[in-house]
Symmetry: C2
Subunit: 384 residues, 2 copies
């Protein structure tokens, strides 16, 4: 039997997620909102019988065994850690909290409760074009993985900012292009199975106001990012994220991977390959329009909704096993909380690079004491 679901959040994603969960057979038992009013609105719109603005009221419900956290990032760590502590499975939307300290708390909790599911929602990992691309890379269709020399990502979208002011407009909250950067950074790890050693980036906040957001609170989150990463093997990753493009709901995405024997490229939802010595690209996977509900009104790009849909399908499979409460295989490609921590470290390094005008090393926070470096230095000096 599938677990009952509690949804934390009342925004765009919550409104896409609830019908999607139902379609796959999950029962949505509770909606949490920051205010009772927001919770009530979403619960009414989505026809969910229980709503609240008290976190524990969802977590303590016996008919809720899986929580989806799709609210403001500054609550991600608190709710995730609490939920795992009470014994609930957790799928937390990106980003994994506000900064590495948040993500680290989440990692610790997930390691402490390994029998519970703890995933970060990076839906592109479930988009068929990318799962196929990953398989092609593993099967060395364009040469061995360590010989991938270059990956180039280009994302253009109409607008990053919602109708009403929320955390996506706020730089401190990790909004705007920073959130998109996180998705791309995660996608790189997923495809190339490597982490970044150092990064360089330029961030810009060109959009200050929109027709709807033009009062005292203005947009501070960047809407533009151009960044480069160098991976452990020396592979270079170049990324351009624009959100000036039009029409407002447009979304285009191109991901190119150059290996020693050709290249693979995802355009939109389709995957193509060009093998060395061949005159032109061949289609490897062509996207099928199989979303059963209208998404035209959502600000979420279609590939993200489609990925989310596949992810919920994978969760259904994971819980549908008869042997135990859940099995790992169907969700093994999903992002873990550790992946979330790494993404935070890269995003932090890009922010720092934007300020320092230099390449920055990616520094992953660990459980080591804060004066770790100092201790090591003294230890070395005393043995000299």
């Amino acid at each position: 039997m599938l677990p009952g679901v509690g949804v934390f959040g009342t925004g765009e994603i919550a409104n896409v997620l609830v019908p999607l969960l139902r379609e796959k057979g999950f029962e949505v038992r509770a909606i949490w909102g920051r205010t009772l009013k927001e919770a009530k609105e979403t619960a009414t719109a989505q026809n969910v019988s229980f709503h609240t603005n008290v976190i524990d009221d969802v977590l303590l419900r016996k008919d809720v065994d899986l929580v989806f956290i799709v609210c403001q990032p500054f609550l991600h760590a608190e709710i995730s850690v609490k939920a795992l502590g009470i014994g609930k499975h957790v799928v937390c939307d990106k980003p994994a909290g506000l900064h590495q300290q948040d993500a680290l708390k989440m990692v610790r909790a997930s390691q402490y409760y390994p029998t519970l599911i703890s995933l970060v929602n990076h839906p592109l990992r479930f988009l068929p074009a990318f799962t196929h691309m990953r398989r092609c890379l593993q099967e060395e269709l364009i040469g061995p993985l360590p010989e991938v020399v270059l990956m180039d990502v280009r994302v253009q979208m109409g607008t990053l900012f919602p109708e009403k002011y929320n955390w996506m407009c706020d730089a401190q909250m990790g909004g705007g292009a920073l959130n998109l950067v996180g998705s791309v950074v995660d996608l790189v790890t997923f495809l190339l199975q490597q982490q970044a050693v150092r990064v360089h980036g330029v961030l810009r906040a060109y959009t200050k106001t929109t027709p709807a957001i033009n009062g005292i609170r203005q947009i501070t989150a960047p809407d533009f990012c151009n960044f480069q990463m160098e991976l452990a093997s020396g592979t270079l990753v170049t990324v351009a994220l624009h959100s000036h493009t039009v029409p407002a709901k447009a979304f285009s995405q191109e991901v190119l991977v150059y290996g020693s024997k050709g290249h693979l490229v995802v355009r939109g939802g389709d995957l193509f390959v060009l093998k060395e010595g061949q005159p032109k690209e061949e289609a490897v996977y062509v996207d099928v329009q199989d979303l059963h509900f209208a998404t035209n009104n959502s600000l979420l790009p279609r590939p993200y909704i489609k990925g989310l849909c596949k992810m919920v399908g994978a969760l259904k499979e994971a819980f549908g096993s008869k042997e135990s409460s859940w099995v790992k295989a169907p969700v093994s490609t999903a992002a873990t909380f550790e992946d979330g921590l790494y993404v935070q470290a890269v995003v932090e390094a890009i922010r720092k690079s934007n300020e320092s005008r230099q390449w920055q090393r990616v520094q992953l926070s660990t459980d080591a004491p804060l004066n770790h470096d100092q201790i090591i230095r003294y230890a070395r000096m005393s043995t000299m």
Copy 2:
């Protein structure tokens, strides 16, 4: 009457240039090559009656009044300066010599002989899509020029390297992507009428050998460049140059300029605009296929050939005036030797940034003595 032309060079461009000059009514009187053999081959192929490997033998000819320098860059400064000294008009291919010192010599000579034409061949300035884009920017179609916030350039081409090893394969000679970088840097100045203050860049030389170049001499010139420039007004320019794309002769180019009231974009040879509040892009200029001769066998991208064709047309107009030996108006949009010097300064800063992993200030060499900074500093100190 149009001046007789001497062509320095026997490569790709020479073979495109000669028929193009003839089409516009210029007489090609002499071909110079580094070796007599090369000079003879090109002269025979192009049906030019005189060939030589002695520079002065072309420059001293009375029937040559205009020289096109399309040979190896390390000779550009020497031939340009000599030609102007003898009283010949000069069109020199990009780059303007090997480094700023070369370009500076050329600038001095051109300033000393202002009655002679002295231009750098940056053909994109003459491509109709870009001349129209420039006019649209000046007419503030997408808002005032200083409010242009972002320009994004993406160039993908099959291969940068010729059949036989030449200077384009050599990093020290300014070959490969560095030459392409120069074209883009010049295009930015042409369109936005502003110079870069600082730059950041990543260069890579992925291609070491080709089926034809795989002996002792390998390719050292980069075939990939990703760079960013900050202009005086704060405008950001982001550029991605790839030459891994296929098929081998493919060439695609997208130049996007975002203003405060919309954007302009050149794709291939066509220009589109999107004005604020409009639902979609409109075509401003659509390219017409008006090249009268086959260019399929040339490594030169079509827009460059087309631009070169228009430039020769402009030269014809400039010399065709009855009032004086030449008039400036038709060639007033062409790149001057000063422009060539600036491009060298930017390319040098990008190379430096690639090594230092930091943003670099663009430092233009001037006629000032080498210890100029020191003198100024002492002078300031003594008045304190």
